[in-house]
Subunit: 303 residues, 2 copies
């Protein structure tokens, strides 16, 4: 074989083989018949063998042509099928999205996931709840398409796009006299034992900082790594806890009172982490569009 055939030539070949008629095949192929004739000639030349025995009245496959027929069919089918699969992917209609996010931020996503499912039924989503520091890692090394968390201490490898603000609330037992109030200031924390999140949590550093601002140090009476456990301890009356409002979704609130935390005004900025200088998959990109377009909804859902 002097040179390699083209998919274009194989397609032309298939049409001629199908119709055994250059004129009609040319029509199907949307080229002039002389062009088709030359395409076949070129294929034959490259192959070093005639593909059709033809005269002006009859066109039929040679043995070589018969041998090529199933091969060409397979190649052309493979070619188009595979690439159309790919185009599904490129269009974002198919694919897999992995999202790394803070456990509390996970509460922001299900509504969006539901809407996304309507328009992108063939996209699967894997939501990985993970502590703050690892969100960035997963995004940086590509294990996640994007992340949802607070802004990273060191940007650079990731880009942070603010998405929503998460303010803090105080939870206390329903039996605590505070339970009657709608809002308290952070200073109230001086009056009660504090159930604190573990130091690895994204919550703890903020609470520490705020308390430092108001001139007090956090001396935790109790500590728990898991926010649900914090909730349970508070519900049992062991103390009070300042937590992000979104974290309420992860807690059994039956025996809890939730109070707005007034001054100072503190919030976490929850945003979208993407890898800098790296493009998103089409599916992930669509998902983020859906997420952004639903901001109003998700903010109201937060109340």
């Amino acid at each position: 074989m002097r040179s390699t055939l083209t998919v274009h030539e194989l397609e032309a070949f298939l049409l001629v083989a199908q119709t055994c008629n250059f004129r009609r095949a040319a029509e199907s192929f949307h080229v002039s018949q002389s062009a088709l004739s030359r395409i076949i000639q070129s294929a034959e030349e490259k192959l070093g063998a005639r593909l059709f025995d033809r005269n002006t009245r009859r066109v039929e496959l040679t043995r070589s042509g018969e041998e090529l027929l199933p091969i060409a069919r397979r190649i052309v089918a493979e070619f188009h099928d595979s690439l159309s699969d790919l185009s599904e992917f490129v269009a974002g209609r198919k694919g897999q999205i992995t999202i790394a996010c803070l456990p509390s931020a996970a509460a922001l996503l299900p509504a969006t996931m539901f809407r996304f499912e309507q328009s992108h039924p063939r996209v699967t989503i894997s939501l990985v709840p993970i502590s703050n520091e690892f969100v960035k890692d997963m995004v940086v090394d590509g294990r996640a398409d994007f992340g949802m968390s607070v802004a990273p201490a060191v940007p650079g490898q990731v880009t942070f796009e603010p998405f929503t603000r998460d303010d803090f609330v105080l939870i206390c037992s329903r039996k605590d006299p505070l339970a009657k109030r709608r809002q308290v200031d952070w200073s109230v924390l001086a009056t009660r034992p504090i159930v604190a999140s573990g130091p690895a949590s994204s919550i703890r550093p903020m609470v520490d900082r705020v308390l430092a601002e108001v001139g007090r140090a956090l001396i935790p009476k109790y500590e728990a790594t898991n926010i649900s456990v914090v909730g349970a301890m508070v519900a049992a009356g062991l103390g009070v806890a300042p937590i992000p409002r979104l974290a309420l979704r992860l807690i059994d609130a039956t025996d809890l009172a939730v109070l707005k935390l007034g001054r100072p005004v503190v919030y976490r900025e929850i945003g979208i982490l993407t890898r800098s200088g790296r493009s998103l998959s089409a599916a992930a990109s669509s998902f983020l569009d859906t997420l952004r377009s639903g901001v109003g909804e998700s903010v109201s859902a937060r109340a």
Copy 2:
């Protein structure tokens, strides 16, 4: 997808994906680096998605690129593997040959088949011994690549190329006094009972014609369709039989004497039948070349 990618582009893509470096990939691909850059650009444009996130220092696959990677590998591999298979076929190094031939002509082939096997180990050959009239049929409708037989009564659909002449011999019992002679004339047939081939055989009409020429009619004392049976009957002393020399190979000659048949000089022209206006497969064509190039050998083998 606006338009369809090219195998050429897929190959370029694979090289870039492999090296993550346009310059080196361009080298492997035997094009300038700018050309490669444009090939990738073209692929990206056709696909509607970037394949590489790249700047002057780093080149790495996007998600779309990662998705394309296994697809491209499969397509390109399939493409080359299949077509190289085909080129094996086209070169005649691989394939299947079906030969329809007279049972007696089959004796001409094994020597050639042996030599052909040396140079074309991946070609399989199917030899179909079949009566004369069907040889032509098989060639005409393509069930056989070519045939070996006497010239067809009506040419036209097939082309006849003479290959060898097959003269006639007389077989008789070793006990017959004739057995002492080396050569007799056809007229000797008047002196003995004749064991004739069946009327469907290609031999019979010739014998009839020759006897008519020498002014005698063939009144067969015995008849057999199968040439081996004719031989056995002659060996048993039931009569004598004029048969083509090639047919001797199909007969147990232990108890037979073989005499040359002198006047009139009669022979069958055995030749190669191919379908008119139809090209042979490369393997069949090679085989025929081998066959023709071995004429001397096969003629001598005939003695």
